[in-house]
Symmetry: C2
Subunit: 310 residues, 2 copies
Amino acid sequence: MSFDRMIERIAELQNPTVAGLDPKLSYIPEGIRQEAYSRYGRTLEGAAEALLLFNKGLIDALCDIVPAVKPQCAYYEMYGWQGVKALHETIAYAREKGMFVITDGKRNDIGSTMEAYAAAHLGSTGIEGEAVAAFDADALTVNGYLGTDGIQPLMKACAEGDKGIFVLVKTSNPSSGELQNQMLEGGQTVYRKMGQMCEEWGKELPGNYGYSGVGAVVGATYPAELEELRAALPHTFFLVPGFGAQGGAADDVAPGFDKNGLGAIINSSRGIMCAWQKEKCAGSEYAAAARREAERMRGQLMERIGKITL
Amino acid sequence: MSFDRMIERIAELQNPTVAGLDPKLSYIPEGIRQEAYSRYGRTLEGAAEALLLFNKGLIDALCDIVPAVKPQCAYYEMYGWQGVKALHETIAYAREKGMFVITDGKRNDIGSTMEAYAAAHLGSTGIEGEAVAAFDADALTVNGYLGTDGIQPLMKACAEGDKGIFVLVKTSNPSSGELQNQMLEGGQTVYRKMGQMCEEWGKELPGNYGYSGVGAVVGATYPAELEELRAALPHTFFLVPGFGAQGGAADDVAPGFDKNGLGAIINSSRGIMCAWQKEKCAGSEYAAAARREAERMRGQLMERIGKITL
């Protein structure tokens, strides 16, 4: 009912990294794409097969050094239901390999509809009395614009299945301040208000390491806000995107951690997935290149954090 | 590049209604469920087939009197990729029958990822130089918490494909005010600020009837806010959920319309889908019951609005 499983794996591997799985075709080596097209043609099926092969190679190369993966729904939906099938298979494969899976869907809706999203991504769906899991990730990112009754159904699924959610608080993109940094009467920003709602919601999902099952998304590109929120939200674990390709560095994300080296998990998507292109190595070595980049990233983060202690 | 096609169909049918397609198994008559299970078993495939059969019957019964349908992604995702395939087929079938399709996904993310969502739901995906449409709806609901660069990629897809988006402004659920009704310094609410952002964004997607391709979601359950926003956002078309099962009535939604009877499209999901259960008629008559309810709803709305004039 919290992020304890994720936190334990972070400590075990001494690595607070999550690898984003946002597999665009242009990131995937030619050999994998051709193999997939030879089976299914240059179709959505073929593209989805390429995504899945690419992801499996990454997961195999990362699963003993990186605690978590974060597939981003958009990059699967753009390949149709066939891509969404590849998302399902990616989630299952990563969990089999012991990775904690955060589905990045930023889902949001009114209560009755959020019950359906909770069933889809974290819980299970009833079919004539039988419970069948649909996507079955360990955690889901969500958008809290609709307030408490859009969050409540997820909390129930988290409590029942030992899972968690990350709520958007301060996002990594350039225009995130347009709404999020607006000042409310009383002198609080919108993002700070959202953060406090996370801290409130989290009371229902307490964990063993001081962090609840309601985390927050806070971008690496805003280190001052990250520091402010770390101090203000002591029970809220942060998912921090924006490292690497979006410009965030180890110094920028350091304020997200507490004195035990906990409190944040840092995402790298393109940095790890596209390491083979940056290194200019052969496409057949993409997984090894991803592992090298993940090791470099762990080195940079751990140099800054020191040791992660439960 | 706007909602002109939708507006023209609303005027043609003299009906500002959108039928929500949120097909839970419990809404679907026994006969349809058994037919689907006989083909695919009591599985996600079987459930997805039941959804699709149910939807096709509704679309056939409604397409000459209701201008639009709004499938809600959550109710398809809960049945796995198999359900998402049924979503794809529902969208295609409804468009074939001349209906305007609003995919209710409330998607949101940073710019580069919103490009993927725009490709998925409104545009097309490139596969080795070929453009392939994935879900190909006419409009998508989105959440604007991330600001302009999370909206821009959608605007591009709308301009290229003559499509539109609806941005969450004031949602219909009980707790929507927790964040949305917070007062900003300067005396403006968060929802009003979001509404103004829609009005700004819409300048890039002007339409022929005074309304842009950037609409707003405003709940029927908050008639005072609906009236305020209609006056404040003269170029923003409203998608109004909350009619019927959520408690909104024709009097509540009336402030959403302009003097020509334009400016809003009113959603009913359970009211129409579950009419056969409310009427206590045979399951085999569910489509006819849905049509009767849609006719009642049109009657209630048009009595209040008068005539819809372009």
